[in-house]
Symmetry: C2
Subunit: 230 residues, 2 copies
């Protein structure tokens, strides 16, 4: 269960336009984060934005705001620059191409979360391992217990950032195309091409003779399950 | 055909780590951009990064660096803030989850392009329409000629930004998981779960009685064609 404390909009998370697309509770945020696999991390370096794709993990404990974990090489610019500055983490699901009769009303069905915050560099070894496990298990549930855990040397090469899920906005669009009244009789097809991310059959490494384990099979099946959101 | 002028790395597009993942020519950049549907736009607002998903279009003319087009409501913060400041546009394809025997060597197969530049607000009406058509046709080739074009009023509500494709980096990872020599005999399955974006059957709007046209059918088929990249 995720918490349902309302998200408190700040000036930068308040949705100014298309307010009907705003989801205002933590359950919506949790849903977007749990369904996603990757985020785009935005940091400012020398005054310019840098946006990089990366994996993430989450803790969404009942009664708390929750935490998002990011990781990277200690040498990565995005990670090095992050502590002490506000970062932006965006998770997006593209659910469909919305094709209206008018070019103007073309749109995209999507679910997205935008999170701002001052990340904390995780230094406690236990929390660092916990954060890394959350990231691995976010990609494939159960994976963190089916691998060799990181060594002390590997942990030293890796930075883990924790971001409180306190300042966030969620925005979604779903459903059919919406044209202006006066365009409804135009001779142009209108509708939605639904999109989704699927997994293909897992590919065992050439140097591995083991059978595909249940946690891998489950994840591939779950990602491929047909859920048409339009 | 796309140009093959080498990308000139600047300090911020030079890849510092995992240099073997860097693609250095314009053909690689064009491939990532043409295969993508959405980008993440990073801007700096009040000193903090803002990362938003958005559609894009491209002109990749032979012999020129090429242009990326973005659009948005004239009221959108990201668009309003963009002219006069450096923006970052990132296009990412997540191609697979790379599951190693060690937690440390877990990775992601991906193709990504990161583009920096000072965007130009397009004011010429012809180029504005051209940019919007490039965006619509990027999502569904041929769509811009099968819709009602934007009216003058609609054009006035829309901002179009043009970004020269001069400063960019491309990074990719593909293939199997790579473990350390001493981990090769560990009893953990290792391999890749390939991922891809597919289109479902197009959904005609309830208020539309027309058959699904060829350009829509082609796009849905093309997006669903099995291309396992691992």
């Amino acid at each position: 269960m995720t918490t349902t404390t309302p998200l408190s909009p700040t000036d930068r998370t308040k949705l100014r336009r298309e307010k009907e697309r705003a989801a205002i509770d933590r359950a919506a945020l949790a849903e977007v984060l749990l369904a996603g696999m990757f985020c785009h991390l935005g940091v400012v370096i020398d005054g310019a934005p840098l946006v990089l794709p990366t994996a993430y993990g989450v803790d969404l404990d009942e009664g708390a705001d929750g935490t998002l974990y990011l990781h990277g090489s200690v040498a990565a610019r995005s990670v090095v620059a992050s502590p002490g500055q506000t970062i932006c983490v965006t998770v997006t699901h593209a659910d469909g191409l919305v094709l209206a009769r008018s070019a103007f009303h073309h749109s995209v069905n999507y679910r997205s979360a935008v999170i701002f915050g001052l990340p904390r560099l995780v230094t406690d070894p236990d929390e660092k391992l916990h954060g890394l496990n959350r990231i691995v298990d976010h990609l494939v549930p159960g994976r963190s217990t089916a691998v060799r855990p990181p060594s002390r040397k590997e942990l030293a090469k890796t930075s883990v950032l924790a971001l409180d899920l306190t300042e966030a906005s969620v925005k979604t669009r779903a459903g059919a195309a919406n044209d202006d009244e006066e365009d409804l009789d135009l001779p142009y097809w209108t509708g939605v091409i639904p999109l989704r991310v699927v997994a293909e059959e897992p590919i065992t490494n050439p140097d591995c003779t083991l059978a595909i384990p249940t946690h891998i099979r489950n994840r591939a099946d779950q990602l491929s399950a047909a859920v048409v959101t339009g």
